[in-house]
């Protein structure tokens, strides 16, 4: 938080945004923006040989299928607004999380 802002106020504001995604579909514009960004990121992260190697290794190691490099993008683009809402409802459950407050040591003005 910036100075003077209560940490719990910030937490509540963040919770509200999560609830919004759970209770309403995101707008068509936001949805298309996400799709454009996913596509752009995919190309950029595979623009160099090192990036391609990393992608292949990740797909093979964690998902058991190196061929995902060829179809993971399609899987992302197949996601609907409803899917996003359902995932938010399923995974962003308050009882599943840890909230950590990282607070500064008291400001020692020494005057």
């Amino acid at each position: 938080t910036n100075m003077g802002v209560n940490v719990s106020d910030l937490e509540m504001a963040m919770d509200k945004e999560v609830e919004k995604v759970q209770n309403e579909l995101i707008s068509e514009t936001e949805f298309q923006k996400l799709r454009n960004q996913v596509e752009s990121d995919y190309v950029t992260s595979n623009s160099r040989v090192a990036g391609i190697a990393e992608s292949l290794a990740t797909y093979y190691m964690f998902f058991g299928d190196a061929n995902l490099i060829n179809n993971e993008l399609d899987r992302y683009l197949a996601v609907t607004r409803e899917d996003i809402q359902a995932a938010a409802k399923k995974y962003m459950v308050p009882s599943n999380r840890v909230v950590l407050y990282y607070l500064p040591k008291s400001l020692d003005t020494k005057s």
Partner: protein, 705 residues
């Protein structure tokens, strides 16, 4: 035998796809491998492939804009880079102008606000940025027209919104505040100012004074004087043909009014006659930033450039450099020691640098000079030569993977008038570099006898041991962070005794009236991150209260009731113990300097030092808690103007610097109305007193724990 076969493939999106092949791994029983674990053996290198550098297509628009196109369909991406190849300019009392003006371009056009520009760029997953000499835009091919339209809009039709300018100026000033305490930034600024001189564009320092001088009109004027197509290059790289690129360039940038920037000329900076040591004091520093540096006359494309690069690679590039192997691997003085030798159209530069602990600063300089002299006088070994050449060649080859590299080659060839085959023959020229070539350029460009050794560090602990390196006159030049010369009076014999100094201070702030003060209630206002905050401090009867609040509600509180102490923040309260408790007890003392003459305190006057232009007595005080403070008392008024407190807590040392100004009389005593604190936060905290109450009744509930 076990082997892994990788097949290369192309990724093509949206259109007909090339046949993608999957990496195949042939598994076999590891135990059956005669040579053991395959992971411990690096695969054998294949045969070196012939290097092929792509070609660029170049043309010039009617308005003088030079366009370079590199066609490469490997990725469905197109990038556009605009570079205005103007001569460097002197910004003088408005240093920082070109940077701010450049950032301002992307914050508004005649048809769009910053929010609209940002949203439009984000929507297509693209990137767009502007700077003082151009800009950059990139997107997927299918969004290319959209990003081009935005790019040409910000370059050709900027609207210079006042509120965006104010924001950038404030952000720049905040950033500069942080830099004031950063020894690397200080080293960089002072090195430039001393090496090039402040009348040279490379020697100007951007600081809070110069930035404060900049206004919106300056930015508009800067834009009109410098954004001229006749001095500019537009580099287009990616999934586009030269024909289409030409039509796009004409469409989006053809309307740019023709014109060129004004050429500038500057004298080559004068080198020092003999090596000199220049020092910038950073109070309380535990390490020194060392920079051994001087200007060199080496232009891009010159015959010496490639052998010089080989030489510098051996001397100070990365983990294999001699500097690294000596100062880090062998001596453990530093995390890393490096050197750079950069050609430049106007004036090039050599620099050897490292950050080292206080105790080894002089030893580190000795080793730097040993390495520089060795490079100058002894030929390098064949092994070092081959390693350096292989390293540079490998980097060159790998760089070719990116079509951007090809574009940069084309751009450099045009900007620096390089021979057309400069880059095609680069590797041949590199391979031809001999041990003698390296010796020749080392003799020419490594000049440790005519260098500046610039050190930013703890003057008291480090400076005296460096005088031997100054061959000019054996005296070290002291500078402030703005590269202004400072007088060093620390060796001046001081006629004042510590106890007398404290008495003079106490007299200055109230003398006998101090004894009649039983309570002091001070309120200060300050701004943090653009928000106003209030701090109230109350000291009475051995108790202490301090609270910081914003708009009436407490953000933070500390209370000492004479026995116990607590600290409260964000609604969470915790008791203070040990050193923290002892520190609170000290804070409860009204006019703590009265205690300095008592048992448990030791004082030492350490000469005279300039603080903000005034000569001050320097006094080191050690308190019973063990903590030390270095205090500065104005020689004429005896008021305390500065205090440096070094505290060690849990093995970590932290330095807090407090400056006192605007002393005013209140009910017979004199207190500072402006207090600036730097150290605990990235930027200094400036507190201005809004109310000072002496001996007014204080609510005892304030101290209730």
């Amino acid at each position: 035998m076990r082997y892994i076969k990788f097949l290369s493939f192309l990724i093509v999106l949206g259109l007909a796809s090339c046949a993608p092949k999957v990496a195949k791994e042939t598994t076999s029983d590891a135990k059956s491998t005669a040579s053991g674990d395959f992971r411990s053996m690096a695969p054998k290198a294949g045969p070196a492939r012939a290097i092929e550098i792509g070609k660029s297509t170049n043309f010039t628009l009617a308005n003088g804009l030079k366009v370079i196109v590199v066609e490469n369909h490997k990725l469905p991406q197109i990038s556009y880079q605009l570079t205005i190849d103007r001569d460097p300019i002197l910004e003088k009392e408005k240093a920082g102008l070109s940077s701010i003006a450049g950032s301002l371009l992307a914050t508004g056009t005649t048809s769009k606000t910053k929010a609209e520009i940002d949203e439009a760029v984000d929507y297509i997953g693209a990137s767009l940025s502007t700077n003082g000499t151009g800009g950059f835009a990139s997107s997927l091919t299918k969004h290319s027209d959209k990003i081009l339209a935005l790019f040409s809009d910000v370059i050709l039709k900027p609207s210079f919104p006042q509120n965006e300018f104010d924001k950038i100026k404030t952000q720049t000033l905040s950033g500069l505040q942080t830099e004031k305490d950063d020894p690397n930034a200080i080293s960089s600024n002072v090195s430039s100012a001393l090496t090039y001189g402040t009348n040279h564009p490379y020697g100007e320092i951007t600081n809070e004074i110069t930035v404060s001088n900049i206004n919106l009109k300056d930015c508009v004027d800067y834009y009109h004087a410098n954004f001229k197509p006749g001095t500019a290059y537009l580099v287009i790289v990616g999934d586009i043909t030269p024909e289409v690129a030409k039509s796009k360039a004409e469409n989006y940038f053809g309307g740019w009014t023709a014109g060129k920037t004004t050429p500038q000329a500057y004298a080559f900076p004068k080198p020092v006659e003999k090596t000199e040591v220049d020092f910038v004091d950073k109070a309380g520093a535990v390490q020194s930033v060392i920079n051994i540096t001087y200007a060199v006359d080496m232009k891009p494309g010159a015959e010496d450039v490639i052998p010089a690069r080989v030489m510098n690679t051996i001397l100070g590039s990365g983990f294999s450099g001699r500097l690294f192997k000596n100062l880090r691997e062998d001596k453990a003085y530093t995390y890393g020691a490096y050197s750079s030798l950069e050609p430049n159209k106007l004036v090039g530069q050599f620099s050897a640098n490292a950050s080292v602990r206080n105790e080894v600063t002089d030893s580190a300089v000795t080793q730097f000079l040993i390495e520089l002299n060795k490079m100058k006088t002894e030929p390098v070994t064949a092994k070092e030569l081959e390693l350096a050449k292989a390293f540079i060649a490998g980097g060159f080859a790998r760089g070719l993977e990116s079509p951007q590299t090809v574009a940069n080659f084309a751009l450099n060839t045009m900007m620096y008038n390089l021979p057309a085959d400069y880059y095609e023959t680069y590797l041949q020229k590199l391979a031809a570099v001999s041990i003698d070539d390296v010796s020749r350029v080392a003799k020419k460009y490594i000049t440790p006898d005519m260098a500046r050794i610039i050190v930013v560090g703890n003057k008291d602990e480090v400076m005296a041991k460096l005088t031997g390196f100054d061959k000019q006159d054996g005296k070290i030049q002291l500078y402030d962070i703005y590269a202004n010369p400072k007088k060093d009076e620390s060796s001046t014999v001081v006629d004042v005794d510590a106890k007398k100094l404290i008495d003079a201070y106490l007299t200055a702030i109230g003398g006998s009236k101090l004894d009649a003060v039983t309570s002091l209630d001070q309120t200060y206002s300050m701004e943090i991150q653009g928000m106003s905050m209030t701090t109230r401090m109350v000291q009475t009867a051995g108790k202490f209260y301090m609270a910081m609040s914003m708009q009436g509600s407490n953000v933070m509180k500390q209370v000492y009731d004479g026995e116990k102490a607590i600290a409260e923040q964000m609604g969470q309260s915790a008791p203070l113990e040990g050193e923290d408790l002892a520190s609170m007890k000290e804070k409860a003392n009204l006019f703590p300097e009265r205690m300095y003459k008592t048992e448990g305190y030791t004082m030492e006057v350490k000469g005279i030092e300039d603080v903000n232009g005034k000569s001050c007595y320097k006094l080191v005080v050690t308190k019973p808690s063990g903590s030390k403070s270095t205090e500065f008392y104005d020689k004429e008024t005896f008021l305390k103007v500065k205090e440096i407190n070094v505290e060690t807590s849990m093995g970590e040392t932290s330095t807090t610097i407090v400056e006192y100004a605007d002393y005013n009389a209140v009910d017979g005593i004199t207190v500072p109305y402006t207090i600036s604190i730097s150290g605990p936060m990235p930027m200094p905290l400036v507190m201005k007193a809004t109310s000072v109450k002496v001996n007014t009744p204080v609510d005892p509930m304030l101290f209730k724990i």
